[in-house]
């Protein structure tokens, strides 16, 4: 297992290097750089050339990348070109916000989605299954940003209330923190509850149709025991995998929800950094997105091994 993980880690790191290089080149291909934005209408001057040299934008692109990579490997992500703040700090703060959003959504999706899915699976074909499936399809069909917008307007109209504007970390005030995150989490969770319940239902149904489960039921084994002994074990692995998938999906997909609810998360940081052509921040934020995806996948893999000894062979 150790060797396997090492290999996986190596492959993932290679992916990260290629991905960051691609981003490095791609963002520089978007017309207009940070200097052009700083100069506004006063372009084409000596001052502009001086600024470009200051940022190292006059060097060949591969040298710029190698410089960045070298620093990144020592843990230095550089400074924001607009804010002058250390990128690592900015990205770290933003990541915590997004992570909290993701974990809360995941928790709700798991707490509601898994039971729904199990119920639907066990009562396959009954009205309750149809109802849950109906909800699932609706939840999966509604665009997340649209749901967010509707929720925001509905709550604002009905209760004359909207979330506070300044983000407060849960360590400072949990109540304020929850007041800020409640609506975005609800907006995100609708989709994920549906996705989760859908997925779990499918696995339960598959498990129920396995010959040995059918035999067990036919032999008169109590339903409760069938459920715990056979079905639950069979669906645990997919549930864990799916958790990872959902977390990655949330982290990568919150851009619009963060913008809509003015949350200072990673998605919004990326968006504004691309807008202001703040390359070091774009690089740093995307690096984190890529690394997180890697780590989550790795954890899912390890969880596999722990839960299911059979996996250790492969």
């Amino acid at each position: 297992m150790g060797l396997y993980l090492l290999k996986r880690l190596g492959a993932s790191l290679l992916t990260a290097v290629i991905a960051t290089f691609l981003v490095f080149v791609l963002v520089r291909m978007v017309p207009g750089d940070v200097v052009a934005q700083m100069m506004g209408q006063a372009g084409g001057t000596e001052a502009e050339a001086a600024l470009r040299a200051f940022f190292g934008l006059d060097r060949p692109i591969y040298l710029q990348y190698l410089g960045w990579l070298g620093d990144a490997l020592t843990g230095d992500l550089g400074q924001s070109w607009t804010r002058g703040m250390p990128v690592a700090g900015m990205v770290g703060d933003a990541f915590l916000v997004t992570l909290q959003l993701g974990l809360m959504t995941l928790a709700i999706a798991t707490l509601i989605g898994v039971p729904l899915g199990i119920v639907a699976g066990i009562y396959e074909g009954r009205p309750i299954d149809t109802a849950i499936q109906g909800f699932n399809v609706l939840g999966l069909s509604a665009p997340v940003f649209w749901v967010g917008l509707m929720v925001l307007v509905a709550v604002s109209s009905a209760f004359s209330w909207s979330p506070p504007l300044r983000f407060v970390p849960p360590t400072r005030s949990l109540a304020d923190n929850l007041a800020i995150l409640a609506l975005p989490v609800v907006s995100l969770a609708l989709l994920q509850v549906a996705a989760y319940s859908q997925f779990v239902r499918q696995n339960v149904v598959t498990a129920l149709h396995q010959p040995y489960v059918r035999t067990a039921v036919a032999k008169g084994m109590p339903t409760r025991i069938v459920f715990f002994k056979h079905i639950l074990r069979n669906v645990t692995i997919p549930i864990v995998t799916f958790m990872g998938l959902i977390l990655i999906q949330i982290l990568g997909g919150v851009v619009i929800i963060e913008s809509l609810f003015a949350l200072p998360g990673l998605g919004r940081l990326l968006l504004t950094a691309i807008e202001t052509r703040d390359y070091p921040v774009v690089q740093g934020a995307l690096l984190v997105v890529v690394l997180v995806a890697m780590v989550v996948n790795l954890i899912v893999d390890i969880a596999y091994h722990v839960i299911d000894p059979r996996m250790r062979v492969s």
Partner: protein
């Protein structure tokens, strides 16, 4: 030597906000009777309450807070509260002494001797001297230091401290706009040697080192900008608020919802039509103020067939500005000719005296016929992503130009792309949205003077107009200057390098408890230095 004390001219100034808002008119009436200080930043309130935190919503986040290296308007709007130049751009286009107290111009117009205000201290606690002033302006005008404002200060030959409270500026040629240039758009007076320290530029995002009425407390990306009252501000009693907290909201939907639910006390709306949605909400007051911005159609002569003046005239004759404005901003603005609304009275030519201003489809068609485009042609209009007014304006323009046989394609590009085209003088046929400081030289010179002195973004290449711009820049007598710029505007309307459509009003929506906020026509937030909360 001619001595000019600007305070003298303040007496009897006309109040032009009057039509716009009852409240601001009354307040300004008070101001004109008071002394020069009253005019700085807006009218001084009679019995202001002190204290409290004003919550302001911002739709555009300043990329950074460095007045020396950042040209973004979103930066200027907020840094004018923390940093100060030698002069203040008054609402109706005069440069009033700010950190300066008075100034003298030599007879040849080449030397400005400026006496500084006494008792000014920086946010760092250090007292301001002529050394600091000389250092600050010498820093910004050195191109090596990479300031976007360097070009504006290129007319300055030397800046020297004469004594602790006197500075002398020597110019390479006479320039009547010097005091306005020493305003608050670029640069400011900061402690001498500030930029010698490593990371000084970045430190401006963490702490302010200016002389303004507010100090920076914190600046959090994608979140907020918090300023606190400068307790040692040189004007006795000002400012009145303890804190101003600017929250950055990424879209107007979130902004309006926050405003309605009392999360925000005041917001200056960039899209006047947002106002419709808060009209009638109890406790909110809506006010309109004239602006110095212009929404325009630019016609780059490098793009076929816009090189032909007849084609440009035909387009101008087909454009119904009123209709475009109605579609774009729902009428919350003023149609303009060749001058932004806020400066029309002091510098503009009346619209009815300008050529090509009234819609005349027949003449437009005839002109196209003469130019060899009787069958019409295809043309691509560039609009900018994120500028909401451009989309409805574009579809309206498409309909108008169809009347004279021009088939308009609409292409929306990112701001970065657009700026690149603009700066390389490849504007083509595009919407533009820009603003100016209240001086005709600063408005026109760079945009419309022939290369290489000007940037001539539209490849207009008009020698006669350029000569007028040169004369206007050197002339310091108001009447003579006005005449020169009137001639310039007539040429512009005749040969159509640009079609200025309208100036959108600044619209401020505020809670009733927010008192005495007057929006400066630049859109900058000077007014908060005079605002108080009545709670």
């Amino acid at each position: 030597m001619s001595l000019i004390l600007n305070a003298r001219r303040l007496i009897g100034r006309r109040v032009r906000y009057g039509a716009m808002s009852l409240l601001s008119a009354a307040a300004l009436g008070l101001a004109s009777a008071a002394n020069a200080q009253a005019e700085l930043y807006g009218p001084v309130p009679e019995n202001p309450q002190t204290g409290g935190t004003l919550e302001v919503g911002l739709l555009v986040e300043p990329p950074a807070l460095d007045p020396f290296h950042q040209a973004a308007d979103a930066r200027i709007r907020v840094t004018v509260l923390m940093y100060q130049g030698l002069f203040y751009e008054s609402a109706d286009g005069e440069a009033l002494p700010l950190l300066a107290e008075s100034y003298e111009i030599s007879d040849d117009g080449l030397t400005y001797t400026i006496r500084l205000r006494e008792g000014v201290t920086f946010h760092t606690g250090k007292a301001m001297t002529a050394e600091d002033v000389a250092y600050s302006y010498n820093y910004i005008r050195d191109p090596e230091n990479g300031s976007p404002g360097a070009g504006d200060f290129a007319i300055i030959d030397t800046v020297e401290a004469v004594d602790p409270l006197t500075v002398r500026f020597d110019l390479s040629e006479p320039n009547a706009a010097l005091p306005m240039t020493l305003g608050n758009k670029y640069g400011a007076v900061v402690p001498a040697g500030y930029f010698d320290a490593e990371g000084a530029k970045n430190r401006m995002n963490a702490e302010s080192v200016g002389t303004g009425p507010f100090k920076l407390v914190e600046f959090n990306p994608n979140q907020n900008l918090l300023m606190a009252k400068n307790e040692d501000y040189w004007e006795e009693g000002a400012p009145y608020l303890d804190e101003i907290n600017f929250s950055f909201l990424p879209n107007s939907a979130s902004m309006l919802i926050a405003l309605r639910n009392d999360r925000i006390d005041l917001v200056a709306l960039s899209r006047p039509q947002d106002v419709q949605q808060v009209e009638g909400i109890e406790g909110l007051v809506i006010e309109r103020f004239p602006s110095l911005n212009q929404k325009a159609i630019d016609l780059g002569s490098e793009t076929e067939p816009l090189g032909d003046v007849k084609v440009r005239q035909a387009i101008s004759l087909a454009v119904d500005k009123q209709q475009i404005m109605e579609a774009a901003i729902g009428g919350y603005g003023q149609v303009i000719g060749t001058m932004v609304a806020g400066m029309q009275e002091r510098w503009g030519v009346p619209l009815e005296e300008l050529p090509n201003e009234t819609v005349d489809i027949e003449r437009a068609k005839a002109l196209l016929e003469e130019a060899g485009h009787g069958d019409g042609f295809e043309l691509t209009l560039t609009t900018i992503n994120g500028y909401d007014w451009m989309d409805p304006a574009a579809v309206t323009l498409k309909q108008q130009l169809a009347e004279i046989g021009i088939d308009l394609n609409i292409q929306r590009v990112d701001l970065g792309v657009w700026i690149n085209n603009f700066r390389s003088s490849q504007m083509g046929f595009t919407f533009n949205d820009w603003a100016t400081q209240p001086d005709p030289n600063l408005l026109f010179y760079r945009h419309f003077h022939q290369k290489p002195e000007g940037a001539d973004f539209r490849n207009w290449d008009n020698a006669e107009a350029s000569a007028l711009l040169d004369k206007g820049r050197a002339e310091s007598d108001y009447e003579a200057r006005r005449e020169l710029y009137s001639q310039f505007q007539t040429i512009m309307a005749e040969t159509v390098p640009t079609i200025m459509l309208f100036s959108a009003d600044h619209i401020v929506v505020r809670d009733e408890a927010v008192k005495n906020y007057v929006q400066h026509p630049t859109g900058w937030y000077y007014g908060f230095a005079r605002t108080y909360l009545d709670e």
